[in-house]
């Protein structure tokens, strides 16, 4: 996995470097690209796939949090900076959509204490960009369960992050 980690870091760094102004960063693309490069096409057992995605999600979280920390440390007094989107959709700027990665990271660590699996689902969904169906496959649970966990996790995280 050293190789995977290296790959993910390199890829993410590549995407992030090109990230200026309106261009979008797609974690899904980052992870998928790493995955495609690292996995020869023939038979991959689900167990390995699950393990891979679990690790990939963790890696992406770390990559993003590291960047956010470094950035925060460096640019505490930074002026207005152009918004950065990490979704595949170059959505029109809606301030309400802005997510503070560090705040999410902290809230997610809290959620993990209450419900570890739910936190893992958020990790895979948000940081690795897996679909509900993919997460269901990886964790060997039903898509309905993933959907439910994801929706309620969003409620918990939003409330936690806004201190409501």
């Amino acid at each position: 996995m050293e190789r995977v980690q290296g790959e993910l870091r390199r890829l993410a760094a590549g995407y992030l470097r090109h990230e200026r102004g309106g261009r979008t960063l797609q974690p899904t693309a980052v992870v998928n690209e790493a995955y495609i490069r690292l996995l020869p096409q023939r038979g991959v057992s689900w167990e390995n796939r699950a393990h891979f995605f679990g690790i990939a999600a963790k890696m992406m979280r770390r990559v993003l949090v590291d960047h956010a920390r470094r950035k925060r440390a460096v640019k505490r007094d930074a002026g207005p900076v152009e918004p950065v989107s990490i979704s595949g959709v170059p959505s029109p700027a809606r301030e309400a959509d802005a997510v503070d990665v560090l705040a999410l990271h902290t809230a997610l660590s809290e959620l993990a204490r209450l419900d570890n699996r739910q936190a893992e689902i958020v990790e895979m969904r948000f940081f690795a960009g897996l679909t509900v169906e993919e997460i269901a496959e990886v964790l060997e649970i039903s898509p309905a369960t993933v959907k439910r966990e994801w929706a309620t996790a969003k409620m918990w995280l939003r409330r936690q992050m806004q201190g409501l």
Partner: protein, 383 residues
């Protein structure tokens, strides 16, 4: 909110999401006789935003710089050949890495070589130093033929050092890259390593960073685990460092600091990702079964030449294959529960007739074979 309360709230919330918004209120009232739970559930529902985290936007400017990594190595301590660390004369630097800087030293009193491992490049605060030393001393209590002995734990320049047996031979990481070992040899090594783990686990010490680089193959072909207890001692340092960072980041929300630190402590996972167990990767609590997983990755790599992810290949079907598969189970409860159990499973697979072939011998055989081949071809050409 505790886990129990969240589970109860979550069940109602999930149900509420399935009905139209104007019916949710009534459903919540019906499902929550407890007014506290009801208020919690309503608070969650009131601020619900379906789009939250869906079209993700990060806080402006947090994502554009990409230099270095979180795992950047510590700066090396200012120690050179000829220096002294306590009673030990430094001969040379053996290596550096995430797990500290290592020097080859000479114990002038006993006239033997030792490996000196610096457990913290920066001088840690005294209470942290005490904790590191405590963990290191725990490691020093393990004695096993397949674990490198910890001779001493000393402080030099306010930094903790582990003084370990210097194990001659070749590093397993190097060996794996160079050659594919015969299966009976791998089985024997697995049994030795399982037996070593059982001894350490018996003293309550989990390695946490088992990898080929931490295993030395001695000239007689047997294996020794290095750095037992080091990851544990180092995690004290890593956790404290992270706590410092988090404390600075969260000064504005002082009330959250305690929770944040606890949460982030769980995130700390010293170890090498390639050989880390899934639970360690996810920052969960780990026990001896995590080492068993790591050993599974190592054994798999010895047998196939690569690690068990990223390829679909399988070991030859065999009893040993089943053993390795069980070591690599994602869920700790599906693995061997103790190293002793693993050792018992591997034991019968060791072929007594074909005992371990010392590497020096196999090398000598190879050299003779090459020489014979060379002579024969010359002979043929001559005739």
């Amino acid at each position: 909110m505790n886990a129990e309360e969240w589970r109860a709230a979550k069940a109602v919330l999930a149900e509420a999401l399935l009905v139209p918004p104007d019916e949710r209120e009534a459903l919540v009232v019906a499902r929550c006789p407890d007014p506290v739970l009801r208020r919690e559930v309503q608070a969650f529902l009131n601020q619900y935003d379906e789009d939250f985290l869906e079209t993700v936007r990060t806080v402006p400017g947090t994502l554009n710089s990409a230099t270095g990594g979180a795992d950047d190595a510590d700066p090396p301590p200012d120690i050179h050949a000829g220096d002294r660390i306590g009673p030990y004369a430094v001969l040379e630097r053996l290596g550096a890495g995430g797990m500290g800087h290592v020097f080859l030293g000479n114990d002038t009193r006993l006239r033997r070589k030792v490996a000196l491992k610096c457990l913290s490049a920066a001088a840690p605060a005294s209470e942290l130093r005490t904790r590191i030393l405590h963990e290191a001393r725990a490691a020093a209590r393990i004695t096993h033929p397949h674990i490198a002995i910890v001779h001493d734990v000393i402080e030099h320049d306010d930094r903790p050092f582990l003084v370990m047996e210097y194990v001659e031979g070749e590093n397993l990481a190097v060996m794996i890259k160079r050659e594919r070992l015969p299966l009976d040899r791998i089985v024997t090594m697995t049994r030795q390593l399982a037996s070593a783990l059982a001894a350490a686990h018996g003293k309550g010490i989990v390695h946490r960073d088992l990898k080929p680089a931490n295993i030395q193959v001695t000239p007689d072909g047997s294996v020794k685990i290095l750095d037992f207890g080091v990851a544990h001692a180092m995690s004290a340092a890593a956790t404290a460092a992270a706590a410092d960072v988090m404390a600075t980041l969260t000064t504005s929300t002082a009330t959250d600091t305690v929770g944040t630190l606890q949460a982030d402590r769980r995130m700390m996972h010293p170890g090498t990702p390639a050989y880390m167990s899934p639970e360690q990767m996810f920052g969960r609590a780990i026990d001896q079964r995590s080492d068993i997983y790591s050993l599974g990755v190592i054994v798999y790599e010895m047998a196939t030449g690569h690690r068990p992810y990223a390829t679909g290949d399988r070991l030859e079907p065999s009893q040993f294959n089943d053993v390795v598969t069980k070591m690599l189970a994602v869920r700790p409860e599906d693995r061997y529960q103790t190293a002793g159990e693993l050792e018992a499973a591997v034991g019968p697979l060791v072929a007594p007739a074909r005992a371990v072939e010392p590497r020096s011998l196999s090398r000598a055989v190879a050299r003779i074979a090459r020489r014979v081949a060379g002579l024969m071809s010359r002979f043929r050409r001559a005739t």
